[in-house]
């Protein structure tokens, strides 16, 4: 991104563009997810219309909600550890911004094209656990603490199947660079059939399923929302938060959903690309410049489709019991993903 459309941009301009781009890349999906899925799809699945008053079809409802949260009092209870309490939502939201850094939106439209992109996102994805534990501990509230510990246990348990499911993709693509993974998916062929490329959702279908289940759990969306189970823990680690700090948790929850869906789309659905065969491109350097503009839209569409599935599952199933949740991760998903890796590796070498 040294020059855009042949216009040289100074370093401060690049930094500004990156900050703006990051904000858009995090907040736009979050807003779209909350409005499209949380407000509208959930309502429709319950045979009601959802917000209809603010703007046409309630489209301005988000502004109203944000305005409401900003007006609320910022309460911090007496015994809280003030510094940690105030830092926790920032850490959680920060991990979302760190995640978006490696997501490729186009052949050149990527904030940081890391060679170990997969490794980076798996590592940074765990930072939010710290924020959640901080929130749970600093709130000086037994419900918050229980929620924080549950979240930590759950996020660590489901981090493993996620890592292992991603490994299958890495083995098949022979690279940890996310842009390279996109390229491989769009240039390879399945059984000599080149028209569709080779999105790994087909060859790594098991890995895709495991990854999506792990994502669901990482986002603490139902049926994995034991950490914020309102019938027993009020609101878990978010119990003592109000006003703007709660809003940050809320944005982080849905922005992370968006980012994880971005990454899942990149790993399994071909990311920003269309099969290169369609336009006669051979490799990444060959791709036309306009994919930097169309690519984000394609990725956004794929992200929405994946979040649709996440939210669909969310609105359908009741929540797991804590022991079922842990058993499911350790005794079922992890062995399954290990088997997936073994089979992928054997096929990779043998075929």
């Amino acid at each position: 991104m040294i020059s855009v459309l042949a216009v040289e941009i100074p370093y401060w301009g690049q930094s500004l563009l990156r900050v703006l781009g990051g904000l858009v890349a995090v907040l736009l999906p979050a807003g779209a997810i909350v409005y499209l899925f949380l407000f509208k799809m959930m309502s429709f699945m319950q045979s009601r219309l959802g917000p209809m008053e603010a703007g046409p079809y309630g489209s301005m409802q988000l502004l109203a909600e944000v305005g409401k949260w900003l007006q609320k009092e910022d309460i911090s209870p007496d015994n809280v550890d003030k510094t940690v309490f105030k830092l926790a939502p920032v850490v959680v939201l920060l991990s979302t911004f760190l995640l978006i850094v490696v997501v490729p939106f186009g052949p050149e439209a990527v904030f940081a094209d890391l060679d170990a992109g997969v490794f980076y996102f798996l590592a940074v994805g765990s930072v939010s656990v710290l924020g959640i534990l901080m929130a749970g501990w600093a709130s000086a509230n037994k419900y918050s603490l229980l929620g924080g510990l549950r979240a930590a246990g759950q996020l660590i348990a489901y981090e493993l199947p996620m890592v292992l499911a991603t490994l299958g993709v890495v083995i098949q693509a022979e690279s940890m660079n996310l842009n390279r993974i996109v390229e491989v998916q769009n240039t390879e062929a399945i059984f000599g059939f080149e028209w569709l490329g080779n999105p790994f959702v087909i060859t790594q279908f098991l890995g895709f399923l495991i990854f999506m289940i792990a994502v669901q759990a990482e986002l603490t969306q139902p049926p994995f929302d034991m950490p914020i189970a309102e019938s027993e823990l009020v609101s878990g680690y978010m119990t003592e938060y109000s006003g703007f700090r709660f809003l940050m948790f809320f944005i982080a929850e849905f922005a992370t959903a968006g980012v994880f869906a971005f990454i899942a789309a990149t790993l399994f659905l071909g990311g920003w690309g269309v099969p290169f065969e369609w336009f006669g491109w051979d490799n990444l350097d060959d791709v036309s410049w306009w994919m930097n503009i169309v690519g984000p839209l394609i990725l956004f569409t794929k992200m929405l489709a994946l979040v649709f599935v996440i939210m669909w599952v969310r609105f359908t199933y009741p929540r797991f019991r804590e022991d079922q949740l842990q058993t499911f991760a350790w005794k079922f998903l992890i062995p399954l993903s290990l088997a997936n890796i073994a089979v992928t590796a054997i096929l990779k070498v043998a075929v």
């Binding site: 799809m41 045979s47 009601r48 669909w312 359908t316």
Partner: protein
């Protein structure tokens, strides 16, 4: 046909309702813009037919919440027939129902021996101030206009 697993069936249910809502509209109504009419026997508000009331206090005494306030005095009314004695009647001075307390049990309506209290399905009488939920006898009398006609008795039922 093989049995569909419950997990898949559940997804089908939510998606089915989603599609139905898109196609046929929601089960709910957009309240301030469109209203659904409640069934005619809905317990919305209690109306008072003042002329029938004898201030006998039965409703007030039977009210579990003590939300009916009645005050009356005795007075002489002209005789029914010419040359008769003036009648002594109870005159109703105050009949208030505090809807902030009322729990809509309907005991007062049932217990009234003179058909002075009626259920009306009217439900839009919320107030910004809780004190305004105390309806006096003029206001309770206005609700009489909203009381629906009593349904026809079943065939063979004695009057």
């Amino acid at each position: 046909m093989p049995k569909v697993p419950g997990l898949v069936k559940g997804l089908g249910v939510t998606l089915g309702i989603f599609g139905r809502t898109v196609k046929d509209g929601a089960n709910t109504v957009q309240y301030p813009h469109e209203k659904e009419s409640p069934p005619i026997r809905a317990r919305g508000v209690i109306a008072l037919h003042e002329d029938n009331c004898t201030a006998c206090m039965l409703c007030s005494r039977s009210c579990p919440d003590w939300c009916i306030y009645i005050e009356g005095h005795k007075q002489l009314a002209p005789p029914r027939r010419a040359g008769g004695k003036p009648r002594q009647v109870n005159h109703l001075d105050r009949f208030d129902i505090d809807y902030a307390l009322c729990m809509y049990c309907g005991i007062c309506v049932e217990v009234c021996p003179f058909d002075a209290l009626f259920w009306s399905p009217e439900y839009e009488y919320s107030e910004p101030k809780i004190a305004d939920l105390l309806h006096d006898k003029e206001k309770l009398g206005e609700w009489m206009e909203t009381v629906p006609e009593a349904p026809e008795l079943e065939a063979g039922a004695g009057k």
